[in-house]
Structure formats: C-alpha cells, structure tokens
C-alpha cells in the first residue's frame, strides 16, 4: 500500500518503513526503530501492517506491553498476515496471557493450527491454564504425524514433571499407557508424573513392572534406580543400577583402547552434520591449515566421549586403564580454598567426556555435592553425594548455601537447561543462556568459583582445574554475574578451541543457531 509523500527522506510505503525499522533493529537501535515506526503509524493509522511494524520494533526494544497493544491494534484493523498473527500469539504467551493466546490460535486457519510449532505452543498454553488432560491429548494425537518428535517428547516430560496439574497429568498419562501398553516411554512419562506428585510407591510399582516387561530398556532401568536412590533404598538402587550396567556394557570390548578405536571407526563410517562443522569452524579462528583435519574430527568426539562414558560407568573394575590417558591437575587448589574457609562452586560444561572429572573428584574425600541429571554415576559409586538436578527446589538451594559456608564444594553445570530466568553469556560472540544458580549461589554464600573439566589434548585427556572469580565485599549481583559469566564462557571457548573432540553436536547447534 503506498502512502502520501511528505518529504524525500521519509518512508513512502510499508515496504520502506519495514526496511528502515529492520535495519535499525539489526544495527542495535531498536528505540530509533520505534520512533520511526510511531511516526509512520501517525501518518497511516488505518494500515494494519504499520501497527505490526511498530509492534515488532517495540518488542525489539523490550517494550513488550506496548508491543502487544500495537499488534492487537493491527489485528483489530483486520491484519490477515499469518506471521503477524503468530507474532501476536507468541507475545501474549510470553506476557503470561495464555487464554487470549489460545483464542487467537483457535481463530487461525486449520492448516496453520496444525503446524508443529503451533501445536507445541497450544499444548504449553493449555497446560498453563490447567487444561492438562486436553494438552496431553492434543500432544498425543499430534505425535504420529510430526516432523521431529523430540520437542514433543520433551514437552511431554516437562508436563509430567512440572507439577502444575499433577493429578490431571497422571490421569491422562494412565489413559495413554492403557491405550499403548507396549510403549515403554509412556510408562516412563507416567512414572515421572507420579514421582513429581510424590506418589513414590505407585511410581516404584509402575517402573518395576516396566523393567520386567522391557528388561533391555536403559531409561526404564535408570529411572527405577534413580527413584530407589532418591527414596533412600540404596541396596535396591545399586541392584537396579548394576542391572543397567550389564545392559550398558554388554557391547563393550575388552580394553579401553579397543573401545576408543571402535568409536573412531564408527565416527568415520557415518559422519554426521558436516555442514554444522563447517558453520562452527570460522568461530574458532584456528589456522587455516588445520581446517581439513578439524572438520574431519568434528564428528569423532561424540563417539569417543560416549565410549569413555560407558567405560567409566560399566568398567569400574578396570577403571585404572583410564589413568593411563588422563593428566590430573593440582587438586591442592581445592584443598587450599577449603582450608582458607571458602566454599567452592565448581563448574563444568556440557562438553567433552563429562564423566571423567566427576570420576576423579569422587576419588577424593572432600565435602562435595555433585549436582547432575545423570545420577547414575552416583549409583555406580554408591555415592549419596549425588543430587538430581531435576529435583532442585528452594530447600535444596538453602542446603547448598549452608554446605558452601561449612565450607564445602558444589559441582554443577550451569550451561544445561536454563530455567525460567537465565543469564546471558557470550561464547565466540554468540549469546548462550546459562542458569543463574552457579553465580548466584557463589554470590549469596561468599564462595569461590572454579572450573573443572576433562578436555581432549591431542590423544590424551587433561583435567583442568582453574580458580575463577569470587564475589567481592559490596559488589552488586549484576556486575558479579557478568564477571563470572566472562570467566566461565572464556573456559568454554578455550575448551572448544582446544580440540574438535570436545564439542558436542547440541552445543554446536546452540552456537550456530544464534544470531
């Protein structure tokens, strides 16, 4: 739609103003984009697209309430553009107005409503307003025809463990299990909902029956072991864990070297996502003559790290073989911090062979709490110092603070799922989200921070232990988080740059997907 021309420099059309605002936003000047869009709206108050451009500019300037008002105005004026409507719906969702968002979704054309992203959003919104059964039914009905079931299964678990409407979730998942009794993943989801609702006996019965029915299903075995561990039945937990170890280690070769060799062969047979490696390479700023080898090795780390994880978990009897390829740090650094009366928030990343540093830390007799989603390692060691990251609540955080002040050590990975209120870090000039637990715990407990992770160095593994910043007297929390994040992200960069074996596909995807 063309607009009246008021001067040569002013935008003449919707196309013009869209381009101008888009450029300003890309240049990091969202406030200027808002000003330009506002001026245009004044001249074209009846044009829905003008209001939508204003809405997008306002959102870029983080003025979400005004943004949703502008996008609502665009809809009121008859906006038909589906992307604009979806923008409005997502904004409503973000602003915690699920009912309004659902009304808008229901008004969309059927073919748009059936898009995977929209179904996921609707499931989330239905669950948020307490219509958990409807949410689960919609999700289950969509599952057979979705392009990628991963986000659907993840959301299903999220609904099960969120505890938002546990009884409804349990009822709905029970129905689904009755309908598809041969799906072990559904039994797992039901069990997780039962655990979230503290119905431990029912969860135990459900998982025990599932293990008998699906004896080779790793996750069922692990979940049962974890539940037994969490309710304190250590003997049964170890028994369940060792049953899993037998399944896990069944395909392993005799020595660690043989397993690593096999992992290399597997990697060379089926290179995965070579385009991802190509995209991440320029970030690393390594010499160009290393490019070919680096790209060739990108895929190998995943297999090597999995082989090491399986070795650590299933071959504790032969764990000494690992010692021959691991260079250990000066562990005295941790001892000194504790002797000085300072607790340590010890951080690792979701990179490299993550179980190696934990294995070596577990050999010391420090006052240590491991926080992990993979409690299995604790079970292998029979180590009650392990805590499930999924069950962290306010009370656990308070316990951690007391533990740090004793002083003790808390070992955790801040770059996992990043929760409701993440902080932003910067890795190779890309934003990544980090959980705020590590810096905030250190801040409120006056603890030292440190980095501890096993990193590939050519064919060997080096456990790096490095002290990070500690909060200073009178320091405010925001600059502290920034200081800590700079340290932690700096270590991540070093580790990724050190060897292609250290990077994980999920991490690479996170880095290349960001603007």
């Amino acid at each position: 739609m063309s607009m009246s021309i008021t001067s040569d420099t002013e935008p003449r059309s919707i196309g013009d103003i869209r381009k101008i605002c888009g450029n300003l936003i890309r240049q990091g000047k969202p406030r200027e984009a808002v000003a330009a869009a506002r001026e245009f709206v004044l001249r074209a108050p009846a044009v829905p697209a003008a209001h939508m451009i204003l809405a997008r500019s306002l959102k870029a300037a983080n003025l979400n309430d005004s943004a949703v008002e502008a996008s609502q105005k665009a809809l009121d004026l008859g906006l038909k553009n589906v992307d604009g409507i979806l923008f409005h719906i997502r904004l409503l969702s973000r602003l915690g107005r699920p009912k309004k968002a659902l009304v808008q979704i229901d008004a969309l054309p059927a073919q748009v409503q059936s898009r995977d992203g929209i179904v996921l959003l609707k499931v989330r919104l239905l669950n948020r307003i307490g219509q958990t059964r409807e949410a689960i039914k919609l999700l289950q009905n969509a599952l057979p025809s979705v392009k990628d079931e991963t986000p659907f299964l993840r959301l299903r678990t999220e609904i099960a463990v969120s505890g938002r409407n546990p009884r409804a979730a349990i009822a709905a998942f029970s129905e689904e299990v009755d309908r598809s009794p041969s799906d072990p993943n559904l039994v797992l989801t039901l069990s997780r909902a039962l655990i979230a609702d503290k119905q431990y006996d029912r969860a135990r019965q459900s998982l025990t029956a599932a293990r008998q029915r699906f004896p080779d299903h790793l996750d069922v075995g692990i979940e049962l072991a974890r539940l037994l561990f969490d309710i304190g039945d250590m003997e049964k937990a170890r028994e369940a864990a060792h049953a899993v170890i037998e399944i896990n280690g069944a395909g392993m070769l005799e020595t660690l070297d043989e397993n690593l060799l096999q992992a290399r062969r597997a990697a060379s047979l089926k290179p995965e996502e070579p385009e991802l490696a190509t995209k991440i390479w320029p970030c690393l700023k390594r010499p160009e003559n290393q490019r070919k080898q680096w790209l060739a090795d990108f895929n190998t780390g995943r297999h090597l790290n999995k082989a090491i994880r399986d070795w650590v978990l299933s071959r504790q009897g032969a764990i000494g073989e690992l010692d021959t390829m691991v260079d250990q740090p000066d562990w005295g650094l941790l001892g000194s911090a504790l002797e000085a009366g300072r607790g340590v928030v010890l951080c690792f990343p979701h990179l490299g062979p993550r179980h190696v540093a934990a294995e070596y830390l577990a050999r010391h007799d420090w006052p240590l709490i491991f926080l992990s989603n993979n409690l299995f390692f604790g079970l292998v060691h029979g180590d009650t110092r392990f805590r499930s990251a999924e069950q962290i609540g306010a009370k656990t955080i308070l316990e951690f603070r007391e533990h740090l002040q004793r002083p003790g050590i808390v070992f955790l990975a801040p770059d996992g799922g990043y929760g409701d209120d993440p902080i932003v870090g910067n890795v190779f000039n890309k934003q990544i989200y980090l959980k705020r637990g590590a810096p905030d715990l250190a801040f409120w407990s006056g603890a030292q921070t440190a980095w501890c992770a096993a990193s590939w160095k050519e064919e060997r593994l080096e456990i790096k232990l490095k002290l990070g910043p500690a909060p200073e007297q009178g320091e405010k929390i925001e600059p502290w988080r920034e200081r800590w994040s700079k340290f932690y992200c700096g270590q991540i960069e070093e580790m990724i740059a050190a060897s292609p074996f250290n990077i994980r596909m999920e991490y690479a995807r996170r880095l290349v997907d960001k603007k």
């Binding site: 962290i392 609540g393 306010a394 009370k395 656990t396 955080i397 308070l398 316990e399 603070r401 007391e402 929760g419 409701d420 209120d421 705020r436 637990g437 905030d440 715990l441 409120w444």
Partner: protein, 86 residues
C-alpha cells in the same frame, strides 16, 4: 500477635526489594507459587535478607514446605526464632 503482623509487613517489604517493585501481598500470599512467585534463587535471597534484618539464622532443615508455604507461615517461624532469643 502484633509482632507477627509487623514481621509480615517486614517480609512483604523485603519481597518488594527483591522484586524491585512494591508487591501486593498479605499473610496468606504463597511464597513460591502465585503470590510472591519467587524462584528458588529468590527464596535464597529472601532468606538471607530476613536473616540480616531480624538477626536470626534460618536453617534449611527447619525451612520445611509448610514453613515456606506463605508469608504468614514464614513470619510465624521468624517470630518463634525471635521469641527463643528473648
């Protein structure tokens, strides 16, 4: 009782400092769910601020789900600790 009311007001004031805006709450407001809607880390911040203001030690083993349920239940707990100090 009036002491408890003062503590409720004090807790609400602290909550406002943490949220960086005045909060509309009363003794019945939940701490974690709707109400103050604190995250786990905010609860830690809340506890530390309460300790500093009232000179009490809030030990994690005494902060049960029931104690951390509402502003009123936490206020009763703080009042109990203060009474023990007298």
């Amino acid at each position: 009782m009036s002491n408890n009311i003062n503590i409720v007001d004090g807790l609400i004031e602290i909550a406002g400092t943490i949220k960086q805006e005045p909060v509309e709450a009363d003794a019945g407001s939940a701490i974690m769910e709707q109400g103050l809607a604190f995250t786990s880390m905010e609860v830690l911040e809340f506890v530390i601020a309460i300790e500093t203001r009232y000179g009490v030690k809030l030990r994690s083993d005494t902060l049960t789900e029931e104690v951390l349920a509402t502003v009123g239940t936490l206020s009763d707990h703080v009042a109990g600790l203060l009474a023990d100090q007298d």
